[in-house]
Subunit: 189 residues, 2 copies
Amino acid sequence: MDIGGRLRAVREARSLSQRDLAGRAGLTGAAISLIEQNKSSPSVSSLKALLDAIPMTMSEFFSEVEEAGEPKYFYGSDEFVELSPQEVGLGVGASRVSLRQLGDAARHSLQVLHESYPPGADTGPDHLSHDGEEAGVVIEGIIEVTVADQVRVLNPGDGYLFDSRLPHRFRNIGESRCVIVSACTPPSF
Amino acid sequence: MDIGGRLRAVREARSLSQRDLAGRAGLTGAAISLIEQNKSSPSVSSLKALLDAIPMTMSEFFSEVEEAGEPKYFYGSDEFVELSPQEVGLGVGASRVSLRQLGDAARHSLQVLHESYPPGADTGPDHLSHDGEEAGVVIEGIIEVTVADQVRVLNPGDGYLFDSRLPHRFRNIGESRCVIVSACTPPSF
DNA sequence: GCTTTCCGTTAAATATATTTGACAGACTTG
DNA sequence: CAAGTCTGTCAAATATATTTAACGGAAAGC
């Protein structure tokens, strides 16, 4: 994130000197100099003051910053983001469940997870529901899945597919870990 | 600009404690407490770290400041529908690729495939593109994936995620079969 | 009842952002 | 050329963000 370069670009695009902009924003030229060289990371309040003086909104500023760079298509297994069970609305019984998310779901309409359930793991009966659909394939181990009023034990190669608004629950009733690759749309915790 | 309130909202929406989020972002719970009370204005770099851990982009953050019987949820591995390669728009090189679809995609907004590529399999360079996004996780073997102008070899545990309108190609360059679980949205074949 | 653990908050210590004040280079004006 | 006035940068002083270490309250287990 080249905040400094971006600030310099928008300032120069308006033919303002560092001291000009500083005066309008209630800061000093030196501060802007350091920020533009990325020698200091401005506080949000300082950046807001600078953008108000331009004027430009924060989201405009960052949407241009964040659009820069190559799009990312590939993810090494070490780049998957580990989600905490609480984040997905799971209870304490799910404490040891590993949910590893492929990519940055907030930017996409598709969320894929690589999940691992240790023996005995249970997402609990009160799994929060949300819009969209979710589906998955069991890769390893066995798992008991409950959706609405239906229960079934899935083996490797089996899968599930349902509307996320239905209450659902996952329990590893086997003696070894259960690995699942799942997908949700739209991404919604 | 109620940065604190907004941060608290997105944090609580994910059921993360201040310390949880702090740990992932490399900060401390106390800092988040002060920020959420608007008693301190985080530096841009700190806020970026917090949002990366959520995950959420800066512009997203600021833009918000600113019956046919019983429904079927479960599918045994023998119930997956084998799609013919032509059906997916693949050429002759893909003749031995196995694409097994979970459920009836036409009725859902999510399509999940259990795919198997024998050694040497190649979807060809002219893979048809369509709307939506697609993503997947490699379960077994290795595969070379090309998306637009990027190429990468993926190993078990690695994944991909891209806009389906981009031209893409899969080639098994290993010596054993490659198994992938993939997801597309919306289903479009 | 009693721990134990997790939550959020706070005070003082430390790290960092920002200001003050000064410097050198570029351009104008006399 | 010299005196003015811009520009951007830097060093030291100051203000603020962040950490460390502690506190009280709420919930769970004994």
